[in-house]
Structures are given as C-alpha cells and as structure tokens.
C-alpha cells in the first residue's frame, strides 16, 4: 500500500487558511488608489498637462475649498435628497409594475410593451415635455431621477421574477401558501439578487438623470455645481465633481454589498459546496 501505479497524478492538498472575510475587503481599494497615484504621477511629470486635466492634488485643494466654504455639503445634500425621493418613487413603481407584468399574463401584455417603448426615450428630449407637465421646480428633478431609475429596476425585477424556479413555487403552493404569501416567501426572496442588481444600476441611472435635471433652474446640487463649472470652464471643479460621483459609486456599491451579504447569506452556502 505504498507506491502508486502509472497514470495516476498526485494531487496533494495542504490545508488552506480559513477564509477571513474582513481584511479582504481592503484589497478592493488597491486598484482605485493605484489609479490615483498613476494620475498624480502623470500630472507631476507633465505627461498630463495641467490645462488638460488638473492633478489630483489640485483637485483635492479645490474640493477642500468647496467643502470648507460650506457649499459642497449643501449641494451634496440637495442632490442626495432629490436622488433618494426620485429613487423611492421610480423604484416603487418599477417593482410594482414589474411584479404585475411578470406574474400576470394580462399585466405582461398591458404593461410591458409601453415600458419597452418608454425605455429608449432620451431624458434630454423629455425635458421640454416635463417642464410643461410638472414645471421647473424640484418635481422636474425628481421626475427625471424616477424615470432614470425606473428602467433598470423594472427589467431586473421582471427577469428576476420570471427566472424563479417554478418548482419552488409549486412546493410553496402545496404548503398552502396563498398568492400573497408566495409573493413574500418565494417570489421576493428568489428575485432579491436581481432586485439588488437592478438597484445598483438604478442608483447609477438615477444620478445620471439628476445631472440633466440639475441643469434646469437649479441653484444647488452636485450636478448643478459641476455643469456650471463646465460652462465657466473650471476644469478643477468639474473633475472634483466627477470624483465625488466616483466616490458615491464606490460608497453605494459598498452599501449594497453589505445589504446583499446580510440578506443573501444563504447563497454563500450555495457557492461554497
């Protein structure tokens, strides 16, 4: 029982350290930081001339100035409020309509085609109509955010519900769950990963729409700040604005990851085995 015959290949396994989830998250910061360092170096060495793109250090100064003069937090807060309200409205509508369309055939035929039509409508082109319908106030910005966030959430929710394993729905039926209970215990958790993905995309799309909205009669908002700076050729502010958006992107990703980790704990097992 010692040696081993010819073709067998030896696959020895040495113990792996137990997975430590905590520290690994920091790995994700490496590549953003590397990009930043690269950029600064390019700016310092003159590969990237200042008139074209300001160096990160310069942008940081601008950011500091904006932050200390108190404008930044105000702009950010206003934008966040608009985004949150719009996302809430658009998201609720999206999930409700997608659920109706995905679960009921008549809902599908009535709701889905108009949504498919509307999804391509460019926001910039809709602005004049929206001005007539909802005015030039906050409603306009919120409507645009709602519009932007609607589609990714709608489509991902719809697909998520459609892709649910029907065998599980059947099992739930035989457990005596009625329509609503099935929605709550089977459809919702089953579609949750897709919902999160939709949310991720919706947050991005909502922000993008907000920039369009904050060009119309806005005095505050991070989009306003940036687009005004663009008009007035203040590249450092524009780039700073972009960095704020990037930071928001990372932040929202982190938040969604945490939420996912909490609510989708059951999937870890699935991946592991």
């Amino acid at each position: 029982m010692t040696t081993v015959a010819d073709p067998p290949a030896l696959r020895s396994r040495t113990p792996l350290r137990r997975r430590t989830r905590g520290p690994r998250r920091w790995y994700r910061l490496i590549s953003p930081l590397a990009l930043l360092v690269l950029w600064e170096t390019a700016a310092r060495t003159g590969v990237l001339p200042e008139e074209k793109v300001p160096a990160p250090s310069l942008v940081a100064q601008t950011g500091w100035r904006l932050a200390t003069e108190g404008q930044l937090s105000e702009h950010l807060l206003d934008s966040l409020t608009r985004a949150a309200v719009g996302l809430l409205i658009g998201g609720t509508l999206a999930v409700a309509l997608a659920a109706t369309a995905a679960l009921l055939r008549i809902g599908d035929n009535a709701i889905d085609p108009p949504v498919q039509m509307a999804r391509m409508l460019p926001h910039l082109g809709l602005v004049p109509l929206l001005i007539i319908w909802v005015g030039i106030g906050e409603e306009l910005k919120i409507s645009l955010v709602a519009l932007g966030s609607f589609f990714p959430l709608y489509f991902n929710t719809y697909a998520g519900i459609r892709d649910i394993d029907q065998r599980l729905v059947e099992a739930a039926k035989t457990c005596g769950l009625n329509q609503w209970e099935r929605l709550r215990h089977v459809v919702l958790p089953g579609a949750l990963p897709s919902l999160f993905l939709g949310l991720r995309l919706a947050i991005g799309a909502g922000w993008l729409s907000l920039v369009v909205g904050e060009q119309v009669n806005a005095q505050t908002g991070i989009g306003f700040l940036m687009m005004e700076a663009r008009e007035f050729a203040q590249t450092d502010v524009v780039v700073f604005g972009l960095l704020v958006y990037a930071a928001l992107g990372l932040l929202s990703d982190t938040l969604i990851r945490i939420a996912e980790r909490r609510t989708l704990a059951w999937r870890r097992g699935l991946q592991a085995t």
Binding site: I132, N217, A233, T235
Partner: protein, 295 residues
C-alpha cells in the same frame, strides 16, 4: 493648449478648423462655401465651443461676449482676433402682453428666466441698474434657451430675457418686447483663435477672415437672399429668419483696445456677481494682427 493640441494643429497644416454656432455669422460663410477646405464643427453653445478650443479640436470660432470671459477664467489659452458691430437689439426681455407690464421695473417681485452666465446675464445687470433694483427684487430662474421657451410659454415664468434666434422664435402673438439692450449693452460677437493657429495658420486665418467679412457685408446688402440661404440651415421659417437677422447680423469690425476695455468691464462685473471666482485680464487676450483683414 499643450504639446498635443499643437501636434494636432500641425497634423493638417493646410486645413483651417472652424467652430461655429448655428445662428452665428459663420453659418452664412459656411453655407456660401467661403472655406470649402476647412473643417467645420457645429457647437450648441459658446462654452461648448471654448471647450473644443481648449482641447485643440478647432482653430478659430465665434461666440458671444460671455464665453471668452469664462474661458479666460478657466485658464484656456486663446486670442480674440476680431469682433462685430454692437447688436443691442439682438437680445430682449419678453413678457406676455396680457399681463400688462410696461417697464422692466414692473417686474419687481416677478419671476424672470434667463440663461446664467451669457450675454443676457450682463443685460440683466444693466436693466436692474437702470430700474434701480437689486437682484433680490426679482425672482430669477436660470434656464437654458431650450428650457426657457416651454417655461415661458406655459406661464411658469413672467419674463424671459433671451437673444436671437430664440428671441425671434418666441415673438408669437401675445408676446411683447418689454425692453432690449439698446443703450445698456453692446452685445457683440467675438472671433476667438487658438494661439497655435494664430502663429501656425496665420495666412489661412487672414484669407478666411477677408472672405468672411465680405460675405457678411453681402448678407447685410441682400437680406432676402441671405434668409433664403440660411432658413433651411437654421430650420426656421424665412420670415422669422429675416426678422432675426435684420437686427442681429452686424458687420465685422477690427478688435481694438477700447473694445478690450469694454469686455474687461463686463468681466469685472461678472467677478463682482460671483460668476467667476477670480479676476481675469481679458483685455490682454486681444490680438490685433488680423485687423486689416476685417477692415
């Protein structure tokens, strides 16, 4: 611009790259084929044009009076190589006649829409000065032309300060001109050029400017034909085109230190309003070397 834009300017040394706006005087030059070899680029606004200037994507371009000031504040490198006669009737305050306003002072406490940081912003400063009002006496809504129109039409604002051709387009029945810039602002157009082009393509620019000057003069002399050429280009009906051009198309004129001072006044005014964070020396951007072509 840096080395890159210089390089791209050199890459097509025989070609002039012109940036224009639809309603600017350059449209006629393009439509008449004044520079068939040139590369023409259309921009939706002055700031967009100066952005391209910064990026080294165009050699010369034409804008209103505000964009060069902001571009200078944004450390964009360019020269002002020409201008036009004043166009005070090319911008105005519009109101609905049904509302019964008679002077600008009647707008106290009302909502007024305008595009922030463009020529009409300066006009507003002057109008307020004249009416002895401050900016806080009116309710300002900053709207771009494309958004101002639906807001004005649907009565979400009481007055709209706007320039041609939007001005002419908005002059529908029931709309009244409350005031224009006559006696308040000059509202000129300015020809801007990238520094590399000024040195590297001087001859091209000179010969183009001469043709451009002639074309503009021809247009002023033949308003009917001009409208016929430009109307399809602008996609505005001939009557409106004629009306707008009659008051807004003015002859080109050389740039002088006096005009530089005039521009500097506006720049200082914008600084005071907080529209630009720093003081700019716009007068220094003046480059008189092409003046004889515009005479």
């Amino acid at each position: 611009g840096g080395t890159e834009s210089g390089a791209s300017a050199d890459s097509a040394p025989g070609k002039l790259r012109i940036g224009y706006q639809r309603f600017g005087g350059l449209s006629l030059a393009k439509a008449r084929g004044d520079a068939p070899d040139a590369e023409w680029s259309l921009f939706e606004s002055g700031p967009a044009l100066t952005e391209a200037l910064k990026a080294g994507a165009i050699d010369i371009g034409q804008t209103g009076e505000a964009p060069p000031i902001f571009a200078a504040a944004g450390k964009i490198n360019f020269k002002i190589i020409g201008t036009s006669e004043p166009v005070p009737q090319g911008e105005a305050v519009l109101v609905k006649s049904a509302k019964g306003y008679r002077t600008f002072a009647d707008l106290k406490g009302k909502t007024v829409a305008l595009n922030k940081g463009s020529n009409v912003n300066w006009l507003l400063v002057k109008l307020l000065e004249q009416a002895n009002l401050t900016i806080d006496d009116i309710n300002v809504k900053y709207l771009k032309p494309a958004e101002g129109r639906p807001a004005f039409d649907s009565d979400q604002v009481d007055a709209w300060i706007i320039w041609d051709p939007y001005f002419a387009l908005a002059e529908q029945p029931g709309v009244q001109i409350l005031a224009d810039a006559t006696g308040l602002a000059n509202n000129r157009e300015y020809l801007l050029a990238a520094p590399e082009a000024v040195t590297g393509k001087a001859d091209l620019i000179r010969s183009f400017l001469a043709k451009y000057r002639a074309t503009t003069d021809w247009g002023i002399a033949n308003p009917a034909e001009r409208a016929k050429i430009l109307s399809p280009e602008l996609k505005i009906d001939e009557a409106t085109t004629t009306r707008a051009l009659a008051r807004s198309a003015k002859p080109l004129t050389p740039i002088t230190p006096e005009i530089g001072t005039e521009l500097q006044t506006i720049a200082d005014g914008f600084t005071k309003l907080g529209l630009i964070p720093v003081e700019v020396k716009i007068a220094e951007r003046i480059d008189e070397q092409f003046n004889e072509a515009l005479l």
